[in-house]
């Protein structure tokens, strides 16, 4: 059982696209898989054609008495379920703050899910917040998409520093960056790609290229493997990413 959080302080880096495609591949490979859309924007829910709505909103989700189980929706794909987003998630921090253990609640309410699913993917909103502290505690690994620009590198460093500072209290969380939206025609991307490998041993060898096909997920409302050719670069890239994730 593993919980993977697609996480980045920065927005628009490919968290949702990766969460959707990795969860799909996990399910395709026979693992019972759950994707939890924690972003009030509900992009993951949208890609799976599931209404981004939770009856009872964030309070229902955070309730320790009622199980999350009842809120889960089956996707159109075998082994793959979704816990949809809700607009009220934009104030999750407010609700969390009112709880007795505001940074540990997520881990607690997820426990029953860890019995049912082999892989859980969390699609996180971009920010450092109480919610993200919850995520750091609940997840086994943070999968961090990084666009190979100098700015992204700075935010990755920021994240690392934050986790280092919190150190003890966050436990075993692994930070595993991977390159996203890589444009190989750009020299800068290439340079950073090579340079960063040596700095971060945990960085994935596989990277996700910039591809119109991936953008089309919004029109197709499906994981990219569902409509793209099996040998297309983007499908191949996600497959490599998935293999690597699985192997360590």
């Amino acid at each position: 059982m593993s919980i993977y959080a697609l996480y980045s302080i920065k927005g628009g880096v490919g968290k949702t696209a990766s969460a959707v495609n990795l969860a799909y591949l996990s399910a395709l490979n026979g693992y019972s898989t759950l994707l939890w859309d924690l972003d009030p924007q509900g992009a993951s829910s949208y890609y799976f054609r599931v209404k981004p709505k939770i009856k009872g909103g964030r309070e229902r989700v955070l309730s320790k008495k009622k199980p999350l189980d009842d809120l889960i929706k089956g996707s159109d794909f075998p082994n793959l379920d979704l816990l949809p987003a809700d607009f009220s998630y934009r104030h999750l921090d407010v609700s969390l703050n009112e709880k007795r253990h505001p940074t540990r609640l997520l881990k607690k309410i997820m426990r029953p899910l860890t019995e049912e699913y082999e892989h859980i993917f969390l699609d996180c909103p971009p920010s450092i917040s109480i919610l993200s502290e919850n995520i750091f505690r609940a997840a086994d690994a943070l999968l961090v998409p990084v666009i190979p620009t100098t700015l992204s590198l700075r935010t990755l460093k920021q994240l690392n520093d934050f986790c280092d500072d919190e150190g003890e209290s966050l436990g075993q969380i692994r930070i595993r960056p991977f390159f996203s939206m890589v444009d190989q025609r750009r020299q800068l991307h290439k340079q950073i790609l090579l340079g960063l490998r040596s700095q971060y041993p945990d960085i994935f060898a596989a990277f996700v290229p910039y591809a119109a096909e991936i953008e089309r997920m919004g029109i197709q409302r499906a994981p990219v493997m569902d409509y793209a050719d099996a040998d297309s670069p983007s499908v191949q890239a996600y497959q490599r990413l998935w293999q690597e994730l699985l192997s360590n």
Binding site: F48, R49, V50, K51, D70, L71, I72, K73, G74, D76, D81, R221
Partner: protein, 516 residues
């Protein structure tokens, strides 16, 4: 709350239009149509069917799947590469249930169906699937337009978190009166339509004799039945797919011999001479293979008799036996495919076909009613068994028990031949108790024979340089444990005999007084 998938059987497809009706909130779209073959497997003697189980395979596009319908509510499936032949070829977690049913019997294809599956998705306005519906049509392979007679399966598969369409489908189904969740036995109906009969073979003697029947006619019926049993098992015996064909083949031959020797005077001696000698030949010809089969069937129990450290040393013995069995079987096949067997069965058939008039001097019992003869014979056999057994004590030689075994066997055959003449509830317990004694005597002798034979095998293996000292030692140890086993059986004999002899009054009442 998890929604359960629903299964129904429809007599025809009239209801489908209503079921697939669209509403404002959702509509149905055909997602796929596929056709594949389903093959039902069972043993020659329908062991699965009798145990109310079914095993079938379906050739899907990507793979062949094997299914095990354990009961109407539970069907398991697993991917499979090749058609299963023995229980050991089935998926591991099925074996604990299916091995005891199939034992040594092999599976054969009994029936093949064409299966057509239509999948409909129930979509909402985002084209999200909220429910899946599968409609399955069956058709017996090669048959045309029988489709209408076979039920149509309807499977409703909910998707987690989508209750509304599920509840609506439930309501529709209820409205249509499709409340039978329990699937009717599809296989049964298919067999009927295909003109096939399950349980068309049983190793048991299934006769229905009437008491007034003349003895010669009754014996003809029994001999006809036994000839049929030989014929039915002939192909499987020659092919050697599993050991049970030969077993049943031999039982039919032995029963025939027993009938001829136990019911004397039903036919003229010259009529039956050929059958007697030829059946003796058949028994002789088939016994080496059967013996080898028995050693192989028992091999696991042999292994378990040895201390764990020795068990692996027995492996060369198994290889030897396997090869030995193959050689015996090849020779047997050669014999059975030869003229002598053909002539035997031809003469047998001729004898059954024409009733020759014979004088009552030659066949004194021929025109006596079968009940009278049966009573006489059974009572006599029971008496002999009782008398002979009574005097056996701890000092009697082993031969005394071996002889007793033969007497018990004779009585058993007689009871089985003629059981339809008597009240089932009276005769069944007698057979059951007799069987306890027979098993004891059988084991007693088998242990001895096997202990000896294993030593002979060991010598043979040694001469052929096929056994090292560890293997020879293991085989020696095995022989010793078998002799221990024999001693154990001996100590149980008195109790087993007691069970049989306690029925004396019943034997008397059933078979003696009526003949008086």
């Amino acid at each position: 709350m998890k929604l359960a998938s629903l299964h129904y059987q429809l007599a025809d497809d009239k209801a489908l239009e209503i079921l697939l009706e669209n509403s404002d909130a959702f509509w149905f779209e055909q997602a796929s149509e596929s056709v594949h073959q389903r093959r039902y497997y069972d043993s020659f003697d329908w062991r699965l069917y009798q145990a109310k189980q079914a095993v079938y395979s379906e050739d899907k596009v990507a793979e062949t799947r094997l299914y095990w319908q354990q009961n109407p509510a539970a069907t398991h499936s697993a991917s499979s590469q090749i058609p299963p032949v023995f229980a050991e070829d089935l998926p591991h977690d099925w074996q604990s249930a299916l091995k005891p049913i199939l034992a040594m019997r092999s599976l054969e294809e009994k029936l093949s169906l064409d299966v057509r599956v239509l999948q409909y998705n129930c979509l909402n306005r985002y084209d999200k699937t909220m429910l899946r519906l599968y409609i399955t049509y069956y058709q017996i392979e090669g048959e045309i337009s029988l489709e209408d007679n076979l039920p149509i399966s309807l499977d409703i598969e909910p998707i987690r978190g989508y209750h509304k369409p599920y509840e609506l489908m439930q309501a529709r189904v209820e409205e249509l009166g499709l409340d039978t969740q329990k699937p009717k036995n599809l296989l049964k109906r298919c067999l009927k339509l295909a003109g096939l009969k399950a349980n068309d073979y049983s190793a048991k003697l299934r006769l229905d004799l009437t008491p007034e029947l003349n003895t010669d006619s009754a014996c003809r019926v029994i001999l006809g039945h036994l000839a049929n049993s030989l014929n039915r098992n002939y192909a499987g015996t020659c092919a050697g797919i599993d050991s049970e064909y030969l077993h049943d083949f031999r039982v039919a031959g032995r029963r025939s011999r027993a009938l001829l020797s136990q019911v004397k005077g039903a036919f003229a001696p010259e009529q039956m001479g050929f059958l007697k000698t030829e059946l003796a030949w058949l028994s002789q010809t088939t016994s080496p293979t059967r013996d080898a089969d028995v050693y192989l069937l028992k091999f696991e129990t042999y292994r378990e008799r040895l201390p764990e450290a020795m068990q692996a040393d027995l492996e060369p013995f198994k290889q030897f036996l396997t090869q030995h069995q193959q050689i015996c079987h090849a020779m047997l096949k050669n014999e059975l495919e030869g003229k002598r067997y053909q002539a035997l069965m031809q003469d047998w058939q001729d004898f059954l076909d024409k009733e020759t008039v014979i004088s009552s001097d030659d066949a004194p019992n021929a025109k006596i009613d079968i009940l009278t003869v049966a009573n006489r014979r059974i009572w006599k056999a029971a008496q002999r068994l009782l008398k002979t057994g009574k005097v056996i004590d701890d000092d009697s030689p082993a031969e005394a028990l071996h002889d007793l075994r033969k007497l018990a066997k004779k009585l058993r055959y007689l009871l089985e031949f003629f059981q339809s003449l008597y009240d089932k509830t009276e005769i069944k317990p007698l057979i059951k108790n007799l069987k306890i004694l027979q098993d004891n005597l059988g084991d007693f002798q088998d242990f001895e024979v096997q202990a000896e034979q294993i030593q002979a095998f060991a010598e043979q293996m040694q001469n052929q340089y096929r056994a090292n000292s560890a293997t020879l030692m293991a085989m020696g140890a095995l022989s010793a444990t078998l002799l221990d086993g024999q001693a154990q059986k001996r100590s149980e004999f008195a109790a087993c005999f007691q069970i049989f002899s306690a029925d004396k009054a019943l034997y008397k009442q059933l078979f003696k007084e009526e003949s008086a």
